[in-house]
Assembly symmetry: D2
């Protein structure tokens, strides 16, 4: 039984993670930490403002803000707890900084910019398909409230495909999060499309990361790919 703490448990994603963990037989919900939103209760566990109970967990899932995440991670490292991180803002500089902060393992830390297994699979398939076609274009489609364009996933996909695929960004109400990668060759096309219809899409990836983080070869890893490839060989 893996004991899981959640940091940022008062937030939208953090509370969903806590509920998800409580519902899995091989996971046990331990401490819930959120100094900015304490007092709530999820599956019988109260959200507290004291980080020390996290020490009893095997893994802590961090869903907080860029301005507090590094301080928290230093703390979990000191408490000897593996960490799975969903907080945004981990560019290359921050990843490098984390390498210094975290040092050697165990425990391990895994930073994941997109927990959707389907999105990761989409990128893997697109990379694999690209050499067989003459050209590619990407169409990413999101709800009208998404302010940045193109999406981070579209940029990452383009980088993995290589060359210089044009990216089209569609913003409309009624959309959630969708991406189409379209490949063209002589007399034929191949389309790879990923549709996220609910925030619950991220939970299987969180659970996968929680189960696998302690067994990773490296102390600091990046991307759900680390966990997926260790599963699929």
């Amino acid at each position: 039984m893996t004991v899981v703490a959640v940091s940022g448990a008062g937030g939208r994603m953090g509370s969903l993670v806590a509920e998800t963990v409580a519902g899995r037989e091989d996971l046990e919900l331990g401490a819930l930490y959120d100094p900015e939103n304490p007092g709530g209760e999820i599956a019988g566990v109260v959200v507290g403002d004291d980080p020390s109970p996290v020490a009893a967990a095997d893994v802590v899932v961090e869903f907080t803000r860029p301005d507090v995440v590094m301080e928290n991670l230093a703390r979990w490292r000191a408490l000897d707890v593996n960490a799975v991180v969903g907080t945004s803002g981990f560019d290359e500089a921050r990843i490098a900084e984390l390498g210094t902060v975290w040092g050697s393992g165990p425990p391990n830390v895994l930073v994941v910019p997109n927990f959707s297994i389907g999105a990761v699979v989409m990128m893997q398939l697109a990379e694999r398909a690209a050499p067989y076609f003459d050209g590619a274009e990407i169409i990413e489609m999101h709800h009208e409230k998404k302010v940045d364009a193109p999406s981070g996933t579209a940029i990452a996909t383009a980088r993995r495909i290589g060359g210089d695929p044009p990216i089209h960004s569609v913003r409309l109400p009624g959309l959630v999060a969708h991406q189409v990668v379209l490949f063209g060759g002589t007399g034929e096309t191949l389309t790879i499309r990923h549709d996220t219809t609910d925030r619950s899409a991220f939970m299987p990836g969180v659970v996968l990361a929680v189960r696998a983080v302690a067994g990773l070869d490296e102390p600091v890893s990046f991307g759900l790919e680390a966990v997926l490839s260790s599963e699929q060989g």
Copy 2:
């Protein structure tokens, strides 16, 4: 039995029209005219360089070039033959010029920028759907050899939808001619998509126009819509 002549019968579209006409029971293939590519034979009729046999036809289908089409049309008008025109380049100025050249009818002339019935239906549906949604975007996708972007059909669709829908142009080998109109509203989207998979897609529209041109109320008409709406009421 309607007798049909084809002007530009030595070209790719003209010869396909001639074959199509020859295959319809209610149409009879009359003269084939093409002073630049004479000598071929389609369904037993020889392509000639003399325009006078066109006089025996009820309808002439014109698939030529912008630099010769106006002279030809003046000739068909003088010969008292109805005309269906697929030659490109009819902007508003040229339509106005044609009104002067053609004068009153009968006979009638019908200029059609896109003979695909499906493309016309797509535009009608998009126009009809637009008032029920909060926003729209258009994605038009064509083979990589199409040099202009966005496509004329995409521009026409955007005009009919109104507002200011963004148009995305995808150019890839393996594509033929495709257009997606995507509407978004609260919690839902509606997609209207048209795919042309073969040049034969234009033939039913040509036949429809040939059958209907003589019965139009106006001497000069524009767009396959004129014929479709007269059929559907």
Copy 3:
């Protein structure tokens, strides 16, 4: 200002309707009625078990169960309140029964099996497109927990298209509610697709019905089409 009561306000759809009404400037949330789930509070209004306060409303929205809906509607008619009904189970026999129960108007009653404006528009467009193509097939796709197949909307669409379009039913996790109508003709296809991504998709239709029910020509009407066509002429 139209005053709106909600019957079944303790349920999932009823409470969403109440929240929606409270958020519209031209609508005022009046009584909330639910004898089986009383006691909650939505936008400052308490859900009660006494039907009499509904009398003060201009329109009551009924989202209850088939076994109580007819009794409720007889009561709203006696209280002289217009009704919009989202309760399921209104087959032709029940519609006929309602005609007898309700009698002449005003007030009016409008029974709506599907409040999604997009789904209604999809059916209208499919009906309009059908005469231009040689064949059609329907693919309806829903989450794996939907037990009936094909969906009611697919059956209704097939009836409106006419002929005998095959219906394919896809059931997979991750899907919400989607329908594709695919038309084929010579060298081209036309696709009309509707995607519901959130239950909120039904609220604009509810609001439209609430605003329009009092002005309908008939005392008993069926389908959101009644309201949409009165808007679009």
Copy 4:
């Protein structure tokens, strides 16, 4: 420079292969053989009814009929020419028979049921994606004249995905050859779609096979996969 002969050069696919070979710089069009349709000329080479000139080729491409293919292949083996086979009808029994007829190599023979690189890539991607999702369904869509359903490619895809994915077969005019593989998981879906828009889609696969057949490790191979995987490692 690889010299290529075509057996069945008088047929639709055979003549397209001959034209394709003539247009590639690293390939040289040698003998054209078709005892049932002799006399034509492609790129300056006459289609003949004598098989002996095939002996001068490095590779012969066979696009004939099931009732003559085995006799032809025995002849090419005797002439010491590598063979790429597109003739249909190679079930497991016939493959086994070919193993006996061909014996050891070199030369080698490669039997390919579907030369579309995109279709092969689609199947590879589908197989790779399947373990990450909870369910899958296949929708294959073809022109109305395709008599068999489901398609061979759909059956092959289902076998590679494993489990028991339902297959839906759509048959409509205007379609060419299309397949959709739809995967569903918690809150998300992944779609892999392949569209063939022209017979030319098969030519890159033919050229790939022609270039690679002599270098294969086994004397008798099956499927374009043999060539694709040797390229991509």
